[in-house]
């Protein structure tokens, strides 16, 4: 008994070491980004590297926020991201469930088919999608861009969600059906609650991809319309200009909404119900 507790404590310690090392690796560059955003350009490009800003100021953030169009771009990114997540989750859950639970001819091929659009470099998909959106009158609109993103991110959602659905034993749904549940009811009452961590993880990853996507946003939006945040960031990098302070401030502003979204969704990542409660 004692040795099992000891082994557990040992592995706990190992876990802490791993997590702290990884945390440091992950966070240090972000911290550096934050510190750089608080410095003026003269303090960044210097002979002696300044670790902590000698004259910290939020000037970069103020400049950024006051710059024409930045609040609009932020808003556009938010709307497009929310729309994309909604579409991908609704379409993804249904498709992934079917592919996970039912066997039908060409199931394997269908799975691969979904990935087809992702396997081709985005640069070559641009023209057809550009023309399609213009024809549909959806060029430079939130819905248009969200649809374009959804076509790229639905395959991702389906594959991820299918993976999570696969880890839930089908016996549970059979048990529910024996008790009189419809198939749809079983999905809603049994599978989704258990798959909550997976659905949350998928939502977060889709949100991040939509929020940070640059190439489609550049090509399918204009500054008069719904230009998004990543394009705004790229615009700071000119042929002869690289304003470190502004760019890093932009990066920090960029991650704040997603961190908030993640904090909200975080509890869903931990499975609320255990198997025991459902089995009864």
């Amino acid at each position: 008994m004692g040795s099992r507790a000891q082994t557990r404590r040992f592995y706990d310690a190992v876990a802490y070491v791993v997590l702290i090392a990884a945390f440091f690796f992950a966070v240090f560059p972000i911290l550096w980004t934050l510190l750089t955003s608080l410095k003026s350009n003269a303090d960044i490009v210097t002979t002696e590297i300044q670790y902590l800003p000698l004259r910290p100021s939020f000037e970069n953030y103020a400049t950024l926020w006051a710059q024409a169009g930045f609040t609009a771009m932020f808003f556009n990114s938010t709307v497009v991201t929310i729309l994309t997540v909604l579409v991908c989750l609704s379409v993804g859950v249904t498709g992934a469930y079917s592919l996970s639970r039912y066997s039908f001819p060409a199931r394997g091929q269908l799975l691969l088919f979904y990935l087809l659009i992702r396997m081709f470099p985005a640069v070559l998909l641009l023209l057809p999608i550009f023309i399609a959106l213009r024809v549909l009158g959806l060029y430079d609109t939130h819905i248009g861009l969200a649809l374009a993103y959804s076509t790229l991110l639905t395959p991702v959602s389906i594959w991820m969600l299918k993976g999570f659905f696969d880890t839930i034993p089908p016996e549970l749904e059979d048990a529910a059906r024996i008790d009189g549940c419809t198939r749809a009811g079983a999905i809603v009452r049994v599978v989704l609650p258990l798959a909550r961590p997976g659905v949350a993880a998928t939502a977060v990853l889709v949100a991040i991809s939509a929020w940070n996507e640059f190439l489609f946003a550049l090509m399918l939006t204009t500054s008069q319309g719904i230009r998004t945040w990543p394009v705004g960031l790229q615009l700071m990098v000119g042929e002869y200009q690289l304003p470190w302070g502004l760019l890093t401030a932009g990066g920090i502003i960029s991650i704040v909404p997603i961190v908030l979204f993640f904090a909200l969704v975080q509890r869903a990542l931990v499975r609320g119900l255990t198997l025991g409660a459902v089995k009864g």
Binding site: V18, T36, Y102, L115, P121, V123, I129, P197, G198, L233
Partner: protein, 315 residues
């Protein structure tokens, strides 16, 4: 028990109509296909034509500058690629980039996910968010920040390594053929391991505690529990994550463009960069389509093999 009871005896007329219809629909033998319709519609409607026209383009000569009218030339583009040394260098570099990249990102992701999943650890919430931050950063900022961090004049990493005595002088990480690929791999490891961490943590949550407890009671040690319970049950999530990440590594040149643009020389030149250059510097969309099709075929082969070997589509 009470939840199931309630579900067990619904009286049809009492249920709201839409629910009733979906419930009915779900009992039909075509339910599996109905579930597929929304996603299939969305993807097929948009995916088929661009990919098909892209592949078809690879059999044509289409250069905006020189031959703006696409003309069919059969395997001409592929013959050009076959004799192009840049293409073969790109293939080799892509192989290194994808294998080392995917493996390193997966391993770090797995290790951190296992650690995060341990019950009873404190402060896990904050750690989890911190670990996720690199994946949140837009590429344009991440790329430029890392080129600043590793800069050979004002780079913090160099400064720290010199002060702690690990290095003698600042190293120009991206300027030397030997270190350039390694440096870019480290940047992508930083940026992408959270993708695995997030998915694997969610996947680990799906493994019932009871299985571990039962195994422990039977005297199984940690290694056994990992190999015989965790890995097999995690496989579907692992396969999905690895495939998605491999596709991302093959297709996206965003970090490479900012950090090295394929240099120095051709040390970090990968296929996605070749396609990008062909399309947007050379405006030779026929050539770009050929490279894109090669990438598509490679990815298809890898995905089919991996899926078959791992058995995730086995019934």
């Amino acid at each position: 028990m009470s939840n199931v009871d309630r579900v067990a005896a619904p009286a049809r007329p009492l249920l709201a109509p839409p629910h009733w219809r979906i419930a009915d629909l779900s009992e039909s033998s075509r339910w599996a296909y109905y579930l597929l319709v929304p996603s299939l519609l969305l993807v097929a409607a948009v995916a088929v034509y661009p990919v098909a026209s892209g592949v078809w383009l690879s059999f044509e000569r289409y250069n905006l500058l020189r031959s703006p009218v696409p003309t069919f030339i059969g395997l001409g583009q592929y013959a050009d690629l076959w004799t192009d040394s840049t293409f073969w260098t790109s293939v080799r570099n892509t192989a290194v980039w994808v294998t080392v990249g995917a493996a390193s990102q997966f391993l770090l992701g797995l290790v951190t996910a296992l650690a995060l999943n341990r019950p009873g650890l404190r402060g896990v919430g904050a750690l989890r968010i911190g670990l996720l931050l690199p994946w949140l950063m837009p590429s344009v900022v991440a790329g430029h920040m890392w080129s600043l961090l590793l800069d050979s004049r004002i780079g913090v990493v160099n400064d720290v390594l010199v002060r702690t005595g690990v290095l003698h002088t600042y190293v120009a990480w991206f300027a030397q053929a030997e270190t350039a690929m390694g440096a870019v791999l480290v940047v992508d490891l930083w940026r992408s391991f959270p993708f695995f961490t997030l998915l694997l943590v969610a996947g680990l949550q799906g493994i019932p505690e009871e299985l571990y407890e039962a195994a422990e009671v039977d005297g199984a040690n940690a290694w056994y529990r990992f190999w015989r319970i965790t890995l097999p049950l995690l496989t579907p999530v692992i396969v999905a994550a690895v495939i998605l990440r491999v596709i991302g590594l093959v297709n996206a040149p965003d970090l490479m463009i900012i950090l090295t643009h394929g240099g120095p020389g051709l040390a970090t030149h990968v296929l996605s960069l070749l396609a990008f250059n062909d399309a947007y510097t050379g405006f030779d969309f026929g050539a770009a389509a050929a490279v894109g099709t090669v990438m598509l075929v490679l990815l298809m082969v890898f995905t089919s093999l991996y899926v078959r070997v791992s058995g995730v589509t086995r019934d």
